[in-house]
Symmetry: C2
Subunit: 477 residues, 2 copies
């Protein structure tokens, strides 16, 4: 009964995907709204997911030689304007601070939408010689972009992210860094979040403001819309020239260094929800689940049940993030609650299980039941996690492949875009006008030129010109 | 020679303490300035100290039942104004966002100076029943206060901190929480940072805007000035009333809950510098030192030296945060460099040491030398850390006690305040006018009414009225 009721409170995915999404983020207590329009409160359960993401990525950033720093959250207008393309891209969507206390500021400050300009100013100050290079920095912070339409995690005026900023002696080194960090993101998404991604390069139109090239990983959500999941930018020496950053090389010649930046945001939590979730709520990959195993005592008034449940909780603390729910809610209510919250494994223990020295483990994704001997728990739970992860990934991968369509001409593309949500693969000549036309007639934008393509030959789906660029297109979040 | 030169670059403490401080934060690469006035760049070495502080405190907050959350960084003007005392305290020093993109906002937003108002609005939304209580939340973020005079770590327009915010069913519970968190801060400062603190209550004048009582820990810096190191506030039900937060208690009666908040900031890094530092630079307590042991090879061109140094680095990685400096700078340069950076232990290894199967360990604080057998390193290093911590604490404690003066009358107080930097203990009647007068005639402010005082009886140093309040007074950062 309770189970029924709870699940009914979540709109069905097929009924209204947008409403399903909002229901899930609210009912699973990931976020709350406030009177600060376009911003969100990230509640303990949502923030714990972000902390787990941070902890995994932070480790990977440190392993690849990066140090964390903290830059001011404000950027003086004059500093923001130093790189022409960059300011054009960001100025229309920043929040402006004009007063400090009761006094108007001499120069207005924007709340950082991204921190390239601040890092550049700092580099100009601390990079003098080739011995000072590379600098491999990262920052965890929040940034602000004044969006008109907002949705929890996917698009909000303030969001949390990390922004890596590096500076190198040579273009080659900076390019290697750009791709290295793209790979870190891709393997994080696939190995930890179980989200298959397409690695690729953005077209000039979709490039980051001020970048020479922007790399991206693109994922496909349950509803067939694409989600740009992380980006990595190569700047060449454009920012260095705009900010006068120079160093003396080994021959004592004064030259410009080369830069990169790369970032992933709380948006990725939206991707987790929309890749793995179902009509019962969240499904969380074990690596980032705040609770990996929830213990639910059954017939807990019977002698020894609560004690056994507590004993298991203590035992499993060294193995996983475990939680015992010994509240007076019914087991049925608890099943529904933790299904909604996406807890990967539910462990049921009742008097009959105790007699048999076993427990029941139920997987969140498939609802498969396992009878596990209490002796084998420490061994079995990590195995189930592995299995869970593999299955989550494969399911998402197969769905994506089943929703990826290769088309050869414009009519077909328009038809597929109208009728079949998903990725569309189509050749493109490289001209902005063809890209714009696809947006106009089919409502799709270029997602990326995948990195793994070799020896493609075809004709632009729009103008028919021969080309070797086979792109991913789609409607995107 | 190199040693000499480097050290000369730091102004002597006794010569100009303020300049010594600035020299240290810049030369040890803790911070850099930028064109964002009043804000600072926290560089990798400075940020690593903050990360270590965060990691210890975060653990303690979780052990005491708190969860991390994230609130918006903006507060609409109307929301800030809901609690009368609070807005009066903060409105004059906030930064105002008035434009989003190119459009003026309907209501201006301040950048959070602290987040009580946001938490209250959220509580009003999620707290309905006694079953929802307590909520024990914490947030790591940056806040902004538009200070006129700024100094790295000690007072900057933007600073990093954590702010705990809790809400409880009863006043007793909230009061217990306030004192519990004060104790967490005090033992963190004393046990990890080796900074002795006085725990006490602030006078009404010095209370946090909107609080019923403010608890503080006060430390004494090398120059005899006090530094408020962390605070914990009890709000009663004042905020709950202003924000309409109510819950139905066990008897189904609608009542107001009780709240607290507590915080510690990057200011504490300033306290570490000014408590333990010396004329050679920083001295860092091992628990928060980014590098705890630096290995410096001596005569590293000789066969086997670098190899041995690398072997030791690998071995010690499991024991402490170790770093090998195998650059081509001279050992003398390196000694001075890592002394300036406050690395607790320096490990020297050269050909003669290798022959004897030993190394030389030098303590940063006392410069004592230890000849340690290579077999005993894993055992000896943690022992040296313990010793180092104990000595740091004792030294600071003795200095503080030697700089704490008890005075009985106003003339004496004025004389001591003029001539002897440090804490002054003096009786106070409790009247605001006497407190104001001490500020006026002696330039001292009340630091706190210490918690550990019992059965004090004396006369107000200002008006002579009998009282049981023996306060700490001082000049403060």
């Amino acid at each position: 009964m309770a189970n029924e009721k709870l699940v009914k409170e979540i709109t069905g995915m097929d009924e209204d995907f947008a409403k399903w999404y909002t229901d899930v983020v609210i009912k699973a207590e990931l976020i709350d709204y406030s009177s600060v329009r376009g911003c969100m409160i990230i509640r303990p359960y949502g923030y714990a997911i972000w902390e787990n993401i941070q902890s995994i990525l932070n480790q990977k950033f440190k392993e690849t030689g990066h140090s964390n720093v903290y830059m001011p959250m404000f950027i003086p207008e004059g500093l923001l304007q130093k790189e022409k393309d960059h300011v054009e891209g960001f100025a229309p969507e920043v929040a402006w601070v004009t007063h400090g206390g009761n006094e108007p500021l001499e120069e207005r400050l924007c709340v950082r939408p991204t921190s390239e300009t601040l890092f550049c100013e700092h580099y100009a100050n601390i990079v003098q010689s080739y011995r000072d290079l590379p600098k491999l920095y990262n920052q965890w912070c929040s940034v602000v972009r004044w969006e008109k339409t907002t949705r929890p995690f996917l698009r909000s005026r303030e969001f949390l992210w990390q922004e890596g900023h590096t500076i190198h002696a040579t273009a080659e080194e900076a390019q290697e860094e750009t791709v290295r960090m793209l790979d870190v993101y891709a393997s994080f998404c696939e190995d930890y979040l179980c989200i298959p991604v397409v690695k690729g390069i953005k077209t000039e139109k979709e490039r980051f403001a001020g970048a020479e090239s922007t790399y991206t990983i693109e994922a496909l959500m349950h509803d067939g819309k694409a989600l740009q999941s992380a980006t990595s930018h190569y700047f060449g020496d454009g920012f260095a020239k705009a900010f006068g950053i120079m160093y003396s090389d080994k021959n004592n010649k004064l030259v410009h260094p080369f830069q990169t930046s790369w970032g992933i945001t709380t948006r990725i939590i939206g991707a987790i929800i929309m890749t793995h979730g179902d009509d019962n709520g969240l499904v969380l990959p074990p690596s980032i689940a705040p609770v990996q195993v929830v213990i639910i005592p059954v017939a807990s008034h019977k002698e020894g049940v609560i004690e056994k449940a507590r004993e298991l909780e203590q035992r499993l603390k060294g193995v996983c993030r475990v939680m015992l729910d010994d509240s007076d809610q019914s087991p049925g209510w608890k099943y529904a609650e933790y299904e909604m919250k996406g807890v990967p494994l539910r462990l049921e223990i009742g008097p009959r299980d105790i007699e048999k020295n076993q427990c029941v483990i139920v997987r969140r994704d498939t609802r498969e039941k396992y009878f596990v001997s209490l002796e084998e728990l420490e061994e079995k739970i990590p195995q189930l996690f592995k299995c869970f992860e593999k299955d989550l990934f494969n399911k998402a991968y197969e769905r994506r492949e089943g929703m990826t369509y290769t088309v050869d001409d414009l009519d077909e593309l328009v038809k597929v875009a109208q009728e079949k949500p998903g990725f569309i693969k189509a050749y493109w000549c490289g001209k902005r006008e063809c890209e714009d036309k696809l947006k106009e007639v089919a409502g799709v934008t270029s997602r990326c030129i995948p990195l793994d393509q070799h020896e493609n030959h075809g004709k632009c789906v729009c103008c028919g010109e021969p080309t070797d660029k086979l792109l991913y297109w789609g409607k995107a979040y």
